[in-house]
């Protein structure tokens, strides 16, 4: 088994009296696409925020590239954070910048490009994530929901990160767009050796994209294994998930390909 880029041990998260995670363990290996599934409110987004260091866990520790982000000094931490690309569930685009400025910002700040170069490269990234020409000079408030997702992906990809965190990237995309999105992630993973942490409810993405799947339930990672092993796991929720009507349809579609 290849080395673990992200290592989570005994993670606990609580909000007031609500315990979201308890004794949660998870490894993410270099170069894999890990799908994270779980019911609404099961704490997938909170897990993602804990990994990228936006949330101090109430127990346990999270190591990324072998380092605990929360213990690093600011400069070192910023260097590590540059190796992440994060797509937030609601896009989190900067509302007062245009799309190309949104994508160009990390390029100017971290890659040291001039503004003109950065905006030029930003256009390519926007095109790559499937946005039409002419969207580049729009502001986030002028976009459709699916376009926000695409632009957020372009910004996450700006620095060609080593780990890509995607929080429901295909929610709100048309099926053709979602398939192209999956294909793009695969292409990038193969060409750049990306590691992808993918939170999703999209069964088609799970079937065609993920090397391993982690199921979040009962405040911890119930199983993290290949699709077949997870689908065969003996748990009522998992059985419903993979063998319910939608799960069956997605499996049939995936096996036809």
């Amino acid at each position: 088994m290849s080395e673990a880029l992200i290592e989570i041990r005994g993670l606990g998260n609580r909000f007031g009296s609500q315990q979201v995670h308890e004794h949660l363990d998870l490894d993410v290996h270099r170069g894999e696409i890990l799908g994270v599934v779980g019911g609404s409110g099961s704490g997938k987004s909170v897990l993602l925020r804990s990994i990228v260091g936006l949330r101090e866990p109430s127990a346990g520790r999270v190591k990324v590239f072998g380092e605990n982000l929360l213990e690093l000094d600011p400069q070192r931490r910023s260097q590590v954070e540059r190796r992440f690309g994060v797509l937030f569930q609601r896009g989190a685009l900067f509302s007062s910048l245009t799309l190309s400025e949104n994508v160009a910002l990390p390029l100017i700040e971290h890659a040291g490009l001039s503004r003109a170069d950065a905006e030029h490269l930003a256009q390519t990234k926007l095109a790559l994530s499937g946005l039409p020409a002419g969207a580049a000079c729009k502001y986030p408030a002028q976009l459709s929901g699916g376009m926000v997702k695409r632009a957020a992906l372009a910004r996450a990809l700006a620095l060609d990160p080593e780990i890509l965190f995607l929080d429901e990237p295909t929610a709100g995309l048309d099926p053709i767009g979602a398939a192209a999105f999956d294909q793009l992630i695969l292409t990038l993973r193969d060409a750049l050796g990306l590691t992808v942490f993918l939170v999703t409810h999209d069964l088609d993405s799970l079937y065609c994209l993920c090397d391993r799947i982690a199921v979040l339930a009962q405040k911890r990672v119930l199983v993290a294994d290949t699709l077949e092993a997870v689908a065969a796991y003996d748990d009522a929720w998992i059985q419903d998930y993979f063998h319910g009507p939608r799960g069956r349809a997605a499996r049939v579609a995936a096996s036809k390909e």
Binding site: F94, S95, S96, L107, A111, G112, L113, S114, D117, H120, L121, Q123, T124, K125, A127, L128, G130, P132, A133, G134, A136, C137, Y139, P140, A141, Q142, L157, L159, D160, Q183, L184, T187, L188, D190, A191, L192
Partner: protein, 380 residues
């Protein structure tokens, strides 16, 4: 850095000429490569050539974008298809980038206007903006009054909870700052009076000065300006971020009236609190004056208040108080209207918040000046 330049070599001996690419094509080398690519693109423009991509060491999306710039999407696709030795991952990345580029036309930057034209255009836009603002404000006042008239006869539609919360936030929470500031201004006015009037031997009239100033003007003016800074901005930010988050649209689609839900409680709360705060401001200003008189003019408190009682007629208090509801109404309406004008971005929330504060302070001072003239002419 460690890769030797040049990374592009043209071998013109073969037919068609072969462009040999080597080294790292990555984001880290983007700035350096960009210049070379621009040069080479012009030299290669329109030429038929074969590109040899297998010498490239590291490649990422930034490098792929550069290659597309260099060769153009069509030539790159042809080169990739011709080169069987290329790994499938690299082939997919290059193809994906090239295909994304095809049919993607970059927006040309808008040509810039001459400076004078821009200044004139800016002035024109500003004047136009003021006119629209005035019309919008009048329209919004009408809307608010109409909505008030509709809800007033139906007590079940009164938003009592919301009203009480707003009264607490705009009124009760502002008491300390209003009291402290007016106390200090009262003391300052008394100092001024004591200094200037002493040269006429009339320093006893400092008492009248403070009382007149605070009852007629300063009490209501200071309270209104403080609320304009404190509350108008809060109204704009609250309603503006709801607008940016599409919450206002959600209220509309639920069949509710945003004016009734958001504006009326805020406006009514201001109508209640500003007169109360004005009263507190008057008291504290007069007390501030009394303290200074007692300390530096040796006017005893008893004497101070008996002078107040004898010299100052009730009408001065009424003149001051009469202005409070008008100011309150205008501050609330301006704050809320600016909130509704916010358009989807964080910057817009900031701009409109600033605008709300400036406008409401401007309106308060303007109206106060007009009212002072009016009351003087009427002899009140």
């Amino acid at each position: 850095m460690q890769t030797p330049s040049p990374q592009l070599q043209l071998d013109s001996s073969s037919r068609p000429p072969a462009l040999r690419l080597s080294g790292d094509w990555t984001l880290a080398r983007y700035a350096a490569l960009r210049g070379q690519v621009n040069e080479w693109r012009q030299r290669l423009d329109g030429q038929a050539l074969a590109a040899e991509l297998d010498g490239i060491d590291a490649l990422d999306t930034a490098g792929a974008a550069l290659l597309v710039d260099l060769l153009g999407a069509a030539r790159l696709i042809a080169a990739v298809e011709a080169d069987a030795s290329l790994g499938s991952e690299r082939r997919n990345l290059l193809l994906a980038t090239a295909h994304a580029h095809q049919g993607y036309v970059e927006e040309p930057a808008a040509p810039s206007e001459s400076a004078i034209r821009e200044v004139l255009a800016h002035i024109g836009a500003a004047v136009d903006g003021i006119c629209h603002q005035l019309i919008a404000l009048l329209g919004f006042i009408g809307l608010t009054l109409a909505s008030l008239a509709r809800t007033a006869p139906r007590p079940r539609r009164w938003r009592v909870t919301s009203l009480v919360v707003q009264i607490e936030q705009t009124g009760l929470d502002a008491v300390p700052i209003v009291a402290l500031l007016t106390f200090l201004v009262g003391a300052v006015v008394a100092f001024l009076g004591a200094t200037v009037l002493a040269s006429f031997g009339a320093s006893i009239y400092t008492v009248d000065l403070v009382a007149f100033a605070f009852l007629r003007e300063f009490g209501v003016l200071l309270a209104a300006i403080l609320l304009a800074g404190r509350t108008a901005s809060a109204f704009t930010a609250q309603i503006g971020s709801m607008k940016a988050n599409e919450e206002i649209d959600a209220i509309r689609t639920l069949g509710l009236d945003p004016v009734e839900l958001l504006v009326l409680p805020r406006m009514l709360a201001m109508l209640v609190t500003l007169p109360l705060l004005t009263f507190i401001a008057m008291l504290c200003g007069i007390v501030g004056g009394a303290v200074v008189c007692f300390i530096s003019l040796d006017i005893s408190l008893l004497m101070y208040f008996s002078m107040l009682h004898d010299d100052i007629a009730l009408k001065h208090f009424l003149v001051g108080m009469a202005k409070a509801p008008v100011f309150a109404f205008l501050i609330a309406v301006i704050g809320c209207l600016e909130g509704f004008k916010v358009a989807g971005s964080a910057q817009s929330v900031g701009a409109h918040t600033t605008s709300a504060v400036v406008q409401s302070i401007f309106v308060v001072i303007l109206l106060d000046a007009v009212a002072a003239l009016f009351f003087m002419e009427m002899g009140w």
